[in-house]
Symmetry: C2
DNA sequence: GTTTCATGTAACTTATGTAGTTACGATTCG
DNA sequence: CGAATCGTAACTACATAAGTTACATGAAAC
């Protein structure tokens, strides 16, 4: 599928698609071909790719919007708050990473297919 | 303590302090007095205020930086992803909220005091 | 009562990060 | 050759949070 087509599906811009897909290519998950009949192609079996791997391929973006701004603050109040919460943030992150590693793209594809079939049935 | 002094401690601006402290005042956690010898005062026993209450007073800002952008998306792919992850995000959030409700400002104050004493000992 | 010290708050400015856009070079196929 | 496509740099737009300015309001000091 071309960047243009993907951008249309995702309601965004082809260059944005290329930027993100480029990271997935670096991780070996997709390949790209230039020129006529080029575009993006999935390079691996969907059952072998987990959300954990995608998260990693995309640069491990932060899970949390709040919490630790500074790992080793000088401020003693900040230190006390970090000490009280760090363990829990680490546990919560582990929970999410664990779940991410359990979900493969094949799982999502299967669920999508189910939903799509349902959608078509309802649509009639 | 005045907004000016607090702003200095927090390395920020008095108006920013007033904005945030105003929310804490609405929640009954602090009071403010105008005029000479005015400023902010803690209104309750620190042992009765938990981080959960602060989080609530400050408008329950989002815990997560990623995840669900749309609770009920039309897109079937997005639906499949949400279905796969929602439970886990809810669990992770519950974990954080639970921990927040376990920690009182008195706990943090005590830990701060310990750190401060240590700091002064080291300082000599 | 005037002066000084505070908060309360509206309005504006600045900073930051993400996304979107334009432009064009490089590559591939027909 | 020419059309299609990615690669990428550079720029623009937008949203959000934080910072700033300005001034009104209120309270205590003297």
């Amino acid at each position: 599928m071309t960047s243009d087509k993907l951008a249309e599906c995702l309601r965004t811009n082809p260059v944005v698609v290329r930027r993100t897909m480029g990271l997935l290519r670096e991780a070996g998950i997709v390949t790209s071909d230039r020129g006529h009949a080029g575009g993006w192609r999935i390079a691996v079996d969907l059952s072998t790719v987990t959300l954990r791997q995608l998260h990693s391929a995309l640069g491990e973006p932060a899970f949390f919007a709040i919490g630790n701004r500074n790992e080793t603050p000088e401020c003693l109040v900040e230190q006390a708050v970090n000490a009280a919460l760090d363990d829990t943030f680490i546990k919560a992150e582990a929970l999410l990473l664990e779940r991410f590693s359990e979900i493969s793209l094949a799982d999502l594809a299967a669920d999508f297919s189910r939903r799509y079939a349902e959608h078509r049935k309802q649509g009639r």
